[in-house]
Symmetry: C2
Subunit: 319 residues, 2 copies
DNA sequence: GCTTGCTATGAAACGCGTTTCATACCCTAT
DNA sequence: ATAGGGTATGAAACGCGTTTCATAGCAAGC
């Protein structure tokens, strides 16, 4: 396969001139430009991108570390990321971590080794210190609502959103409130746990372990929660459900069993995914597409800053 | 930043020896190996991946061209792809095309310029000829059920699946059958159109343009179809809906309006997404996760071959 | 007439790891 | 004693585009 030197020889010019033509630099006469283009054509030349990367020290590649993709929360974020990456002329490299530290480190290592120009971590598995250690190798943004001072975070204020949801449900007269969460670890989850506990305290209710449902990510999980719910001796009268998917699964399964929403149990979803509208779920809208776009903006700047995006309650008929 | 030559100097060995240590090649004495490791430690050395890529002529990167990701069809495929890429030690580069030829060409160009070792096209926008022209630059697989002889295709047999669905509905006694499709162009879609027409002919029914609903991708689209459906003068008694999302939207909206499924209108979904189970939708299960894994297997082999995956009817309560 | 300052062009260095090839030592088999 | 074969090591070439620096011609400005 022909390289730039072959082209130069064929066109009777120097390698530098060919490079100038390739990069639209000035100071090339029309005559030589044409000669170079002709030579490229004849030899079927095309640039080797890896040589460019090596030489320029950048790849126009941004990394995205994400636990898995077939979940609307992440795929909506990703959509925002992809849309903005497109206009910023970046391509995306994908690190599916399944929440495994090992896989996440691979993404961090890629940053270190200059495979990517920046990294977005959509849901962090490693501890802050390991992440911070990689900051010197390139811009890095984490998508969680932490107020970490040294690592930029772009997200929705999950603490406030959850608190707001709690207040809304409390204002509706509920005292017995449970919630469903994706996983227990992670900043976002502990912030919600914190908000949950504080609001319970505020209304003078105890924390009931059996009212907190873990591992809730999918529609099926929502159905599973209904099973757990019916078998509870003492039942909550309302549930906050941190994903509309799960809330949808819950509502569908509940009504199949004759449990009426919101009459028997009120549910409040999160995300405002289309499924929430379809099932008439009251939900807290999170601007995930925007957050995704913002992640790209931040990570493609020299000095990324943090940003918090606003949420909005969408009242429908499930509370 | 230190490079391999600095390490060699510091350790008092040759560059070759350092490279041997880095790549676990034999023929390095323990003594030198330790010296090299010590030097790397002291200098904070790490390999520049772009130099490796340039030198090796491969990147361990596979490209995925996909119109958009926040749709379960693609995100399920992607999940399969990501899972298999992980075990095959590939990373993924993402080209979100929005069905624009320009974006798809970027992916093809990336293959040509050796940015990626192979390319998977999940839904093709360009014509076969342009795709074929890039085959010489690396392995390339298209995810559609075409029987193209020169380009490997991995997919479900969409023609057969649709035909099977038609027969199933016909066997249930329906004669007035419509369908919903994502987009009209594209192999998969025309195959379904073909199956549709053939089966209509088989039962001696005319093709009614108003019974074919286009641009059906999301839950909202399913709701929209209900609107169009109710305004039809002559209504189909059954619909094939090529995505469970859309079928779900249809069923929810229909029942909200007092249209009973399957009594007033029967619907048959495709994919067997969790939402289908939740809404008791009869559907044709497509093994998309497996197809995704297979795409990676094919594209990471020297000579990719085609493969067709089987579908399966899942009988529930919507037909 | 002489200095500035563009325009135009190319040689060479640079980014950096891998791989080939040559060399040298030491031990075993004949 | 000698050929053969494995172990160990390094110089140099290779993959390839970009960028710096030096050079030279030519025109405008004083």
């Amino acid at each position: 396969m022909a390289n730039i030197r072959d082209v130069a020889k064929q066109a009777g010019v120097s390698v530098t001139t060919v490079s100038r033509v390739l990069n639209d630099h000035p100071y090339v006469t029309q005559e030589k430009r044409l000669a170079v283009e002709k030579a490229m054509e004849e030899l079927g030349y095309h640039q080797n991108i890896n040589a460019i990367h090596l030489s320029k020290g950048e790849t126009r590649l941004l990394g995205v570390a994400v636990p898995f993709i077939n979940h609307s929360y992440f795929s909506t974020l990703l959509n925002g990321i992809a849309d903005r990456a497109l206009v910023r002329d970046y391509n995306l490299v994908f690190y599916q971590t399944n929440y495994q530290k090992g896989e996440e480190s691979k993404a961090l290592e890629a940053l270190k080794r200059k495979q990517i120009d920046g990294l977005m971590i959509l849901s962090r598995a490693s501890d802050w210190n390991s992440v911070e250690a990689y900051q010197e190798f390139g811009p890095l943004v984490v998508c969680e609502s932490s107020e970490h001072t040294r690592i930029p975070c772009v997200s929705v204020d999950h603490y406030e959103a959850f608190r707001y949801g709690m207040r809304y449900i409390i204002d509706k007269g509920h005292r017995h409130i449970g919630y469903c969460i994706g996983r227990r670890t992670g900043t976002n989850s502990s912030l919600r746990e914190k908000a949950y506990c504080e609001e319970l305290e505020y209304i003078g209710e105890p924390y009931r372990k059996s009212w907190v449902f873990n591992n809730c990510l999918t529609i099926e999980d929502g159905k599973r929660v209904v099973n757990e719910y019916v078998s509870l001796k003492e039942k909550p009268s309302a549930l906050l459900i941190t994903s509309d998917q799960v809330a949808a699964g819950f509502r569908m399964e509940a009504e199949k069993r004759g449990i009426r929403v919101p009459h028997d149990v009120a549910i409040l979803g999160f995300d405002n995914h289309p499924i929430a509208e379809a099932l008439d779920l009251t939900t807290i809208e999170l601007p995930l597409h925007e957050v995704g776009m913002s992640l790209v903006e931040k990570v493609s700047s020299k000095n990324p800053s943090s940003a918090i995006y606003p949420f909005e309650l969408v009242e429908r008929g499930s509370v």
